[in-house]
Symmetry: D2
Subunit: 388 residues, 4 copies
């Protein structure tokens, strides 16, 4: 419970028929730290209005486009403080740029932009304007993902050797039917960008592995496929990873694999122990020390390190899920806006790093798997000296 005022939130995208916008709204609502008061919910005026009405938005604060929203809200004392951008990928950049320039905090879906240049522009702008950009990689909001990261950091695994991450789905295993709005834009290079499942979920897998391992990726060797006939973008990604520390990794990302629902899963192996976490069983984390029994760590308040986000709302044994993980991002951003730093939150630099990753994978694939290097994330020197 908290007595601070709710943060005034606007939304771009997320109208009727959309998916992720509703998740953002539930996440914002769960802990009662936000109130949604304005938005541009759809480019189609009728859908925009109808959506605003359903959401009980004051009609005067349902705007036709982003510039109107900024103009309208800037003039008021009770104007929005933050804007959630939940449109298809190709619209992220312009919207985020305009909001940051107007001095608004931004919550942005991933991938942050279509190109690394655009990403760097946003990162620079956020820095210059001293505004937060929260990039919604929700999986790092799971308490046990944060616990995994804390255990790596404090050395429970010894020096890291291997990272094995995969994100495998079945939902695009066949050519989608004609009315599949979600599939539609994701399979269209104009709206999704040059990366298919690589951009859509590969960035999640990469970001999760970087988040937990703390390792800096030096180079990647990749092999992309479009398994479903007629598909223009990749629907399967195989990659090998080399970290600056000497650790090695593998990454498998697919959206055409029958039998997999939302199979994000990571194993981190060090010299003394390994960890395993799978998104579909998010309330358990497996810790396997060398020559000792494997342990099942659950989401219990007294087991989690002090540096874990206080997003544990209910006792161990009472499952929390995806919405709660997502809400943990919103909650931590609210803390941040109230002065409590949450440096683990994915931000604009995370977005830049994700675009560099996409770019390196595409370059390697075009070069028949030759190793493609990428620059270190901002704030990290490229070094082979990671001594964990």
């Amino acid at each position: 419970m908290t007595s601070t005022n709710r943060i005034r939130l606007g939304m771009i995208g997320g109208g009727q028929g959309a998916f992720i916008g509703g998740v953002h709204r539930m996440a914002a609502r769960l802990d009662d730290r936000y109130e949604l008061i304005a938005g541009v919910f759809s480019a189609r005026p009728d859908v925009n209005r109808a959506s605003a009405s359903e959401l009980r938005i004051d009609p005067s604060r349902c705007y036709d486009d982003v510039s109107e929203l900024i103009a309208g809200e800037s003039g008021r004392d009770d104007g929005v403080q933050a804007v959630a951008i939940v449109t298809p990928n190709h619209l992220h950049f312009d919207a985020a740029k305009a909001c940051l320039e107007a001095g608004l905090h931004v919550i942005c879906e991933k991938p942050m932009t279509l190109t690394a240049d655009e990403a760097e522009t946003l990162a620079g702008l956020a820095q210059q304007k001293q505004r937060h950009l929260l990039l919604t990689h929700p999986y790092v909001g799971y308490p046990l993902v944060q616990q995994a990261r804390a255990m790596v950091k404090r050395g429970d695994l010894g020096r890291l050797r291997m990272v094995n991450v995969e994100y495998v789905q079945e939902w695009l295993a066949e050519a989608p039917g004609p009315d599949n709005k979600q599939a539609d834009w994701r399979l269209d290079p104009k709206r999704a960008g040059a990366a298919g499942c690589l951009g859509d979920i590969g960035t999640h897998a990469y970001q999760l592995s970087a988040f937990i391992s703390g390792l800096t990726l030096d180079a990647v060797s990749a092999d992309l496929s479009s398994m479903v006939e007629g598909r223009q973008l990749d629907d399967n990604v195989h990659a090998m990873l080399r970290y600056t520390s000497g650790a090695k990794g593998m990454l498998w990302v697919s959206q055409c694999a029958p039998g997999f629902e939302n199979g994000l899963r990571i194993r981190v192996v060090g010299g003394r122990a390994s960890l395993e976490w799978a998104q579909e069983s998010p309330n358990e984390l497996w810790f396997a020390p060398l020559n000792a029994p494997r342990q099942r760590i659950t989401r219990r308040d007294d087991w989690l390190g002090d540096d874990i986000n206080r997003g544990v709302r209910i006792p161990g044994g009472h499952p929390e899920g995806y919405i709660e993980a997502f809400a943990n991002l919103y909650q931590a951003l609210a803390d941040q806006l109230n002065g409590a730093p949450a440096d683990w939150l994915p931000d604009a630099n995370t977005g830049v790093d994700g675009l560099h990753f996409i770019s390196a994978v595409l370059r390697s694939n075009q070069a028949d798997g030759a190793w493609a290097t990428l620059p270190p994330p901002v704030g990290k020197e490229r070094t082979s000296g990671d001594q964990r």
Copy 2:
């Protein structure tokens, strides 16, 4: 998304330091169908005020006791329509009675009352006043629990033979420390009633088994224990069950079992197949037909029967948890208050049935395990003819 007005909600209990009140608030908030606007959050005035302030409740609607709340809210056009009662057990009855008499809908924690007589009074009152009483057995809010029930009902299992239900926890495995507010009242016969873990979680186990199986319990043979020294109430319950149809069951409930967090789990066995569901992995339901491979049914919109509550908010593979299940009760109640029946919701009759169960178990235990019968739930004839 929905455009109906939010239901105006009051709360009794749930102040600072409480647990379940916060869960009710998250559940009410998740789908944006309620607004909490009034309450009596604590019997201690300072805690009451501080809690209301944290919850951003208008101070004029933070009341000293239930009668004041009723008086204050009855006089206003925008007064509360429903009240959530989240106090310790012994306070449920008076509060629920007063609210129902005032024409308010009631959301009540379980066990509904301390005695079956009290329960029947409330059930009668709800009927007479034509008000809803939602009894918060949240586990039936899980979509796959509803799916299990639908599969039993449509005959996928054949005629039922055995039910095996257990609810096992470790949190009272030792005498609790001095400041454990949650444990405190639960171990005190004056506040918890004559049943210990039997009342606290045994009612959940019984209700879940009745909900899924649809069977009518005829008699129970029970053996209760207080395993922890000095404990006045039961902390372990073993029971055998006989249903009117000829089916048999077993029930194990414990709060003193190390290694179990929130181990609610049920297996239902019919002549053609069996089902298994465990609360700690709530997004999967195991269906095992005779002489055929066991199947893992997940929470996917296209797999769930039409009679499942539409509480599936996100795609399969994206875990939902306890809060979502709880929210499904609130959501269905909101539907009901708006005219859409949700006859699966636990109500006052469910509460009466639960008290009869408690009473029969206690009677059998006092008679060294002799079979104790119980009356059929309201709306069910006692019959051995259940033909599924």
Copy 3:
């Protein structure tokens, strides 16, 4: 590897079409400590001869009945030293009695006899003749079952509170077809005795729980059913258990439960920790301490206590199964015959105890679940002082 001579083994039963005889032969062969050289494989002469031929038994040592076998083998220097009795239940007693009287060691299938009196006769005879009677409860041959027992014994669980054991199968969920030799005799009171699944697999469940827990059962309250129409014997058993120490237990045994293959499973709960083991995943043992992560103990040589049978043939991660567990009994008997005691082996006293258990369950069931007591196993005083 060992250089001792092979033990000369005879067999009664186990001819063509039989099941368990073949398992005994594999178990005897696996570690090369036995040679099968004589037998009465079937009451039907043609089957007997054909079976012996397939097994490469010298025709002169294929006998028509037990007395011939004893007569024939007693007269030779290289006569059998031990006899495995693998017939239907009703034939165990006479064969075992004759063999013991002739000074042979006996390996006997369970249940050892049809009545407790017969069992006591065999136990007395074994003692008087100083011969071993190995009762083949193979599940205690699994190394992790022995590890579980050792952990209980050394106090890892604290004082025991609850035991929950079940053995559930589906194979008799329907009336069997006309040619089902295995089902045939098991459903016939004349050959199986007064207990159906209770005798066939209930004895395994009871013996496993006694073996691991070390507790002495004081009384049982039982409810038996014949779920399949026309069945004369029980096919489902529910029971509550009271141990002399004050610990409590539950037991579920069934052969009419679709979806269960060979579901023997036990949970033992103490004040400090609990254990879980399931026969279908026999290479892992779950140890769950109070307020600490659950641990997965595997069948690794360096993890198992010194008092575990040295039956671990291959490294952890290389699964061992039912045949190896069975072979561990044979191996330990061979050790015993060579002078190395294996006091954990199920013997004639175990058989007596099993018959007392069957008898108590049947008595309780006939008395509508009234608690029926049973005498303590030989070598155990009945006491409520088990101080583990």
Copy 4:
């Protein structure tokens, strides 16, 4: 049960202190189709004699070396028919060559030889002499591995898209102690060859994936590491795979990964369904069709296709393990020697293919991950037309 004569078996290697020789002996013994009657169990005469004595081998048939064994056994009517070679890798070739030349059948540990040339020599010799060479890749002996292969073959998965195989262990995660005989030769390039874990277990992983998928590997891109300081050979292998059909794969092999015991595991993904099997739970096979519940297929006689080896000895629910899988190879070889073809058995051509795989991985690694092609296995044209 079978009445054919036992096959007369010799053994090279497998003396006291060895590991895999004992497994071969148990596997040969389990189904009573072999008798071990001769051998060279160690290069050290004292160990050789002592081992033979423990194994009850006639001292006159315990030979000093392979040529003596061949000379001694060739002269006898009852001489060995087959020889099992269970020495360290570098000794396989000479022994196998000599035995084949002498007209003996050979059972050989993997990797078959140190080089592809040697492998081809053996394959040619086996063909020329019309003798069987069984290469002991035991994992394909598991009935559910054979079931997986049959399901792929009959099209249950649709056209294959991806193969993901891994074999991960922890046992060499640290530099081994001074007396570790098993580790010793495996870490020594002179005795193990140029491949470390790649040769020791990578060949198993590759062979398993080829066996189940039926795909022809076209090229590999690999990244090898020696994670443990001072190690001369690889202890971690990452590789991407390209099949001639257009399918893609990933392979992870490691012996320095804490928390993994014998983690061989494969997932095969087709356009209509996927399969998963893990060696540590060998009695279940997961079949996951597109948009339908995942199914758990168990080792039940009535579920397995007709083309599965008849190695199922006991009913479903009774676990079989590694020794039984190993024994299935021996059993099928015995069938083969008696005229019943078992074309699924790994043979000399499998060995050649394994050496080509090793060679391609090493070449790719030396070329910084450039794709290295390999010739198709004997009997397979290289084609992109695999139409399953």
